[in-house]
Amino acid sequence: MEFAFPEKPFKTHGGAHVPHYKNTAQMESKIMPPPAQVIIPMQQHAGAPCKPLVQVGDEVLVGQKIADSDAVVSAPIHASVSGKVHAVNQVMLSGGQYVDALVIDSDGEMKVSPEVHPPKVDTREEFLRAVRESGLVGLGGAGFPTHVKLNVSPDKNIDTLIINAAECEPYITADHREALENTKAVFSGINTVRKMLGIERAIIAVEDNKPDVIEALRKMENDGQASPDKNVCVLALSASYPQGAEKVLIKSCTGREVPMGKLPADVGCIVMNITSVAFLADYLRTGMPLVKKRVTIDGSAVKSPQNVIVPIGTPIAEIIRFCGGYAVPPKKILMGGPMMGIALTDDSLPVIKQNNGILCFGEEEARLHEPTACIRCGRCVSGCPMNLVPTKLEKYAEAKRVEELQEYCVMDCMECGTCAYRCPAHRPLVQAIRLGKALVRNAGGKK
């Protein structure tokens, strides 16, 4: 077998040294008891929404499939508590779109469904089917159905599986705790994926601000049982935001640049989040689909920040109550980290599959800065990991100049927020770029 592991990460452009605020990294995750009610939206993934398989009044059990879709890009949804379907309501997701949601009254007993049993996976097809049935989506935040991502055509010659444990968002430590608390499953999942898809090597990429994670993974790496063929390597990356962004991560790990508009598979890579791969191992062992999720609860407005493992669909307000309630009245609640997270309108929204953190900010952290004139300092340009010119994109978006927006590759922006973070004039660069993308989309991509 002809391959090697990089001795040190490859160079990438831009980025920012954001503060880490990993306050909850050393705290053991707590398991939250089932809430009285869970709200399960029919869309918890990128792709087509699911249709309910149960009706109001039906009894459901933990792990029972309650919604599915015929669409290719979609993932089934399972009951996270046992109890009775109370209603089908419309809920607004964090992105602002309305979807149907099953409201389930929990009986508090968490009775497991008889559907739950370890799947038989001997072939690639069986494996991919099992991944679909597990309901797994990219748990790093994107929520792309995993069975679609893993189903790459053999002519792509995938040689590297990259496990994303960079966790570059400040505050969030959900993956950090997964790596420490479920290290064995991480390796077991990696080995299964490699075996099933015939991938030669795997690289676990961790930012170097998590020495305990690196140490725990390296110990396992040298353990003959967990990693029999020694084709798994832990790579420490510099803690520079956005190290965990897929394209940046691939560049850091392999030196390869995913061409504009292409996918990781086009450069022979598959990237999986560390929690996703560990879940996969657990699912193949127990058959329990994705019904619970570890989320980091932090921010100055929370009384006791910690990582909590919650049934999917638990309302945020309930989790905050479990964490001792609000220390001060929250001014801003984020789903996700402070760099890319979405500000919510209220705390009644449920936690869905790809959520990994809820941050509640008090007055000081939530304060908005008034934008001042751009002084053309170039901090956005030197910081952009995609090597774009954010200040120009902002101007073209404001002037609605679609042609220039396309010329300056507005669609290549991944909205990581590095430019706006660095901007001394507090320009709303990401907001303007989103507007610019919408303008290009509405113009139908024509020049």
Partner: protein, 323 residues
Amino acid sequence: MEQKLIVSSSPHLGSGATTQKIMLDVIIALIPAAIASCILFGIQALILILTCVISCVLAEYLSRKVMKRDNTIFDLSAVVTGLLLAFNLPATINPLIAVFGSVVAIVVVKQMFGGIGQNFVNPALTARIVLMSSFPAKMSNWVVPFWYRSGNPDAITTASPLGLLKQGASDQLPSHLDMLLGARAGCLGETCAIALILGGIYLVARKVISPVIPLCYLGTVAVISLIAGRDVIFELLSGGLLLGAIFMATDYTTSPINRNGRIVYAIGCGILTMLIRMFGSLPEGVSFSIILMNILVPHIERITRPRPFGVKKEKAKKEAAHE
């Protein structure tokens, strides 16, 4: 929830950098040169610096008020312009002329084009050029350093080192050490090389400027003077080169925002400076070179646009040719 939450676009975190903090850093970096100018040229230097700073801030305040725009004096950019304008004046100039220069810099060059970030040429340098064409004799009336110690009430005037060189009086040139310390004729803030370099190091250390522009500018001047058989160290330390390369050519608004653009721009500044010094009728060309390159910045930015991630070099070139 009993109270409303703030909903805003990500990111929800900032680096803490503000325009005001950046300008404050520039002011701090200019302080060594300001002190040096007061030591070299006496109380006259202090009067001119204060006149320029106060009149620039006032001009900014009043012009914004007249144009019914918000007050921007607290971003401190007017203070920086005032300091730089003073640094570009000879010690003998009438403070009223300095006030005129301030009004040109702030009102005409900066505010009439929309204020900070919008002017296409450097305000302080443009004001200097306006003053040079309006008061050519007064603007090149250099005094000997430390003249105030001689007890003579009238300042002793002399030629600047580059002026001497142009006249062919190279035997009267000051020593390299004098040039380094600033003991030579020239504008207030341009003579003390040590103080300017200190300020530059501070700005680079604080990441306010990248060293690309000063190094490429000075490097180009050094290479050309070496090829032309001129005294490299003399060329680097004379005229307004260090002041220009460290503080004027690096002005955010009037220099390219991308690294490759900055390299092209700085090399252009260096070539123009040496062309004027060697072949022009003026002894010094830093101001004109920087202003000329300022005007070219939009074009430089277009041809040196960064290659976006995932775009192959040849493809980018082909696209550019296609356009």
